[in-house]
């Protein structure tokens, strides 16, 4: 049984004890046990590591830590060795003996496992110097990689619950709200609503009890920043929630975690249990007269259930669909009681602000948007992963400095920020700073932090179609504009991609978008038009090409492309002929091959298999006629 913490002094004492105990260990080996790395085999590698360390008799001298996602998942499994901060990427079980004997015993670096700059070829062993990390500003993610998320002692050792002690014993609830207001913190869940004002609204709303809620629904496909925080540092979210509850006057809280995040739910549940054991949660927290309890609620994750009123109806045990909220949920939320809902990241910012002050927080970022933001950078960039950046950094810096530019030397075309209902931002607007208001101005949004980079091979009409189809599946169907509008948009956009677009379609699309954005009940319907509108605004030529010239310049829309074998390049290897599933290719060992366009089903197999690049995709141009008779082949001499 652990000893209850009954005062801030108890907490400090415990912290010092923990630190003193860990001083004995020389090396700390952090192994990323995030969902991404486990999928790549981190757990097997972990077993090997434990055995190997034991074999070398290093137990007690080396501490192995299972840490949460460190953000560079694509390069996983990842190991970071402290205090040197050596970062090893793509570590396999067979690499473990080298790591132990060279690095842990001899203090040398295993060159083949460190990051290599794709442009210069330079080897960069130190985590903080890898470009992906160098340009980030990690506040919320700072301790992912340093602490074991399943150990409250680790969190306390790095200063955890200090902010709670300060809040409970040195500040009045009103002072906390003032501090949050002064920090200019805005909600990280998408809308960017000022957090301090929301707290104040709930605090002042009539009615008891009051509730505080963590929104960890994270329905954006490809986004995992909330998951990474909940899995990697759950106590930071919990500490923020407790401080918020104290400030607002709530005695009960909920953590809403989507079904697909079992580890997040497990880690936060464990964190709650540990905090309760230490007296940091429950009755008379830290010996004060403030009591607070937290329940974890697992939600079946439809995208729309992340919307505040939908989420609250789900916690009440009903079907999670938005309801008209002309009285804000901050005033009438769960069971019509005042309820303050914030995103995972928003809550995690709170302890930092309380500890270091509003002024410090405001010094990071821009005037309108302070602090940092976590994005999940995905798509066609060299480095994908979780990036935490100060607000105000330009999109260009994120994509080219942190992301390392476009993969395969291709050309950048657009970046979508803010998840499936974010807009596409073109090259000429890449210097837009990351800021709630600036992103909205260019037709996109901050959202909860998705960032998808698209290159020249992306068709912007098809991309708009893709997100409309995604949102069509996610709409709850309650209100007419969203339900019917998305259905119509999907039909029209699919027609255009199929080459059946008509010129009057554009007007119709614009009308639908206007209705949806003005008249929908919740933000899903209101923002669902962003991809379509920005695609129309910034990439109008592509739409015209699809509709008028039946051309898809990115050669994505299947109906608008043809495969064609260049007779000058064909080496009559017969590979494509053998692979074609429908026998559409003619030719033999002696003759140039050609494709019977009537038979071809455009599966692209020939294009994939041809080793001479002879198969071409063409769109919007006439298909050269097949060779007259059989054209003998001119073999290239090697």
């Amino acid at each position: 049984m652990v000893k209850r913490i009954n005062s801030p002094e108890d907490l400090e004492k415990l912290r010092n004890e923990i630190i003193a105990k860990s001083k004995a260990e020389k090396h700390v080996v952090s192994v990323c046990m995030g969902t991404g790395c486990i999928a790549l085999g981190a757990d097997v590698m972990m077993d090997a590591l434990e055995k190997e360390v034991e074999k070398h008799g290093l137990k007690g001298k080396v501490e192995i830590k299972k840490v949460g996602c460190v953000g560079f998942c694509e390069q996983g499994p990842i190991i970071i060795i402290y205090p040197e901060e050596i970062c090893y990427l793509k570590v396999k079980p067979e690499d473990v003996p080298d790591i132990v004997s060279k690095t842990l015993v001899e203090g040398k670096i295993v060159e083949r496992l460190v990051y290599t700059d794709p442009n210069t070829g330079e080897k960069i062993p130190k985590l903080g110097e890898i470009p992906f990390y160098k340009h980030q500003h990690r506040l919320l993610l700072a301790n992912n990689g340093r602490i074991d998320p399943r150990s409250i002692e680790d969190y306390i050792a790095v200063g955890g619950y200090k902010a709670l002690a300060k809040a409970l014993f040195e500040m009045k609830p009103e002072e906390i709200i003032e501090e949050i207001k002064a920090s200019n913190l805005r909600g990280r869940g998408g809308a960017g609503f000022p957090t301090g004002i929301k707290w104040e609204t709930t605090r002042n709303a009539p009615g008891e009890p009051k509730y505080v809620i963590v929104n960890c629904d994270e329905g954006d496909p490809g986004a995992f920043m909330d998951r990474a925080l909940m899995e990697g540092n759950p106590h930071s979210v919990l500490e923020g929630l407790i401080i918020g509850a104290y400030a607002i006057g709530a005695h009960e809280g909920f953590v809403y975690v989507r079904e697909e995040y079992p580890m997040a739910a497990e880690n936060i549940s464990l964190a709650i249990k540990q905090a309760e054991e230490y007296g940091l949660l429950g009755e008379n927290i830290m010996g004060s007269n403030f009591s607070f309890k937290v329940t974890v609620h697992r939600g079946a994750g439809a995208f729309v259930s992340g919307e505040s009123s939908a989420l609250m109806t789900a916690i009440e045990g009903k079907v999670g669909e938005p309801r008209p909220k002309y009285i804000h949920t901050a005033v009438q939320g769960i069971w019509n009681k005042p309820s303050c809902l914030n995103n995972v990241k928003t809550w995690a910012c709170v302890p930092l602000i309380i500890l270091r002050g509003a002024e410090w927080f405001r010094s990071i970022g821009t005037k309108g948007s302070s602090g940092t933001m976590i994005f999940s950078l995905v798509g066609k960039v060299n480095n994908t992963g979780l990036v935490e950046v100060p607000m105000g950094i330009t999109l260009r810096d994120i994509i080219f400095k942190i992301g390392g530019g476009i993969r395969g030397g291709k050309k950048f075309k657009a970046v979508q920020t803010g998840g499936p209902s974010g807009g596409f931002i073109p090259e000429e607007l890449l210097d837009t700073p990351v800021d709630f208001d600036e992103l909205r101005k260019v037709g996109s949004m901050m959202g909860s932090g998705g960032m998808v980079v698209m290159d020249e091979d992306t068709c912007m009409v098809d991309a708009a179609r893709y997100f409309v189809d995604f949102l069509l599946e996610e709409s709850c169907g309650k209100c007419v504009p969203c339900r019917e509008g998305l259905k119509e948009l999907s039909r029209i956009l699919n027609n255009i991609c199929r080459g059946e677009g008509k010129e009057e379609d554009i007007q119709l699309i614009e009308d639908i978008c206007e209705t949806m954005s003005e008249a929908s009940l919740c933000a899903l319907g209101r923002t669902a038009v962003n991809p379509v509108l920005t695609s129309l605004k910034y990439f109008r030529e592509e739409w015209d090409e699809h509709i008028k010239d039946k051309k898809c310049r990115a050669k994505v829309c299947k109906a608008l492309i043809n495969y064609y074998i260049d007779p000058e390049l064909c080496q009559a290897c017969t590979l494509c002929l053998r692979e074609c599933p429908v026998g559409a290719i003619h030719g033999d060992k002696e003759h140039v091959h050609w494709i019977d366009q009537d038979k071809c089903i455009k599966c692209g197999t020939c294009y994939e298999v041809c080793r001479f690049g002879a198969v071409k995709k063409i769109s919007g141009e006439p298909i050269p006629p097949p060779p007259k008779g059989m054209k003998p082949i001119r073999k290239r001499r090697e």
Partner: protein
Amino acid sequence: MIISLRSLSYEELKQNLDKDDKIIIWSCNLCIKYCGLGGIEKANILEDMLKEDGYSIIGKEIISESCLLNLVRRHKMNKEDIFRKATAIIVLACESGYECVKAVFNDKKVIKTVRTVGVGGLSSFGKAVLTAPFEWTGLNFNANGYQLRRVAEKLGLYSDFFDAEKKPKSKMVNIIVNGRQYKVKEGSNLLEALLSLGFKIPHLCYQPELSPAGRCRLCLVKIKGKKGLLPACCTQVEDGMEVITEDDEINHLRRLILEMIMAECDWKILPRRSELQYWIRKYHINESRFELSKKTEPIDESSEVFIRNPNICILCGRCIRACAELSGQRILDFAYRGSKTRVVAELNKPIGQTDCAVCMACVDSCPTGALAPKLIYQKTLC
């Protein structure tokens, strides 16, 4: 239809009540409403009158039909906590409705307000008339129907509601609509207020007896100081509110929404008198530019008294709320999500095989005729 006349004066009603009674006003949404002696509107008036006189009204309960004993029980069960607190129930329902309420709430003071005088129908002016009087009235059968005012005079009863004796002085506030000032009741529903002032605001998912849902988005208006457009049906009036009910933008949006709704159902086959057809005509729409979603679901004819044609349903949800709130049965509900949303009865059973109480609340509320009585005269003649 059952015809009733008021048997109590307002003073007599008050004599039945104590100042510390916790009162619930109970009303059917059917016959008594057509007789002008019940329904949500009258219940509201009575609430205002009694409150002004210092009585404590703790709730109003609108039920599809009180003469169905199991529905009365259902309402008691669904709202147990409020009924437990009540000490008196004022019943705006015919005498057999009253008997059911009295039987279910036998521990409370249940107050009857009417005398039932016979069976009748609606005249061509839409007014209730008495055609088949009960024997004790001494009146003969009259196919054209007796006017209720005359019957009341003859029998010493009242044909009008309590407010004929004393107008309640409800608290009024000023609102500005399209630049002109009006007085409306404080805290009332904005859509209701605007409609009563004569503004023709299209609305399909709102019904006064039911909780607002904000689904159809037709009643959107602009309110000064508020961002974007707001559905009037989900907004309460506030003193000094400035509302714009119509401008080019709003009308444009309403037309587009109507076009979308038209694409959702085979609107050409809708009854001309249906609410949806009315708004389509009103906004001069001849065609929807959107493709008709081809719904070819089977028509459910399993109920003895009404049919359900999902192909002309626009998902306004009124039937669902009517079934839950007026009948208390919760037979109907939405199933699936997004563009696949549908109305189903009890996990997708034919309605005839459910616990449907055949109260017709859902049928009465349907704005398209997707739920329609099998016999047109069923309701009017009884």
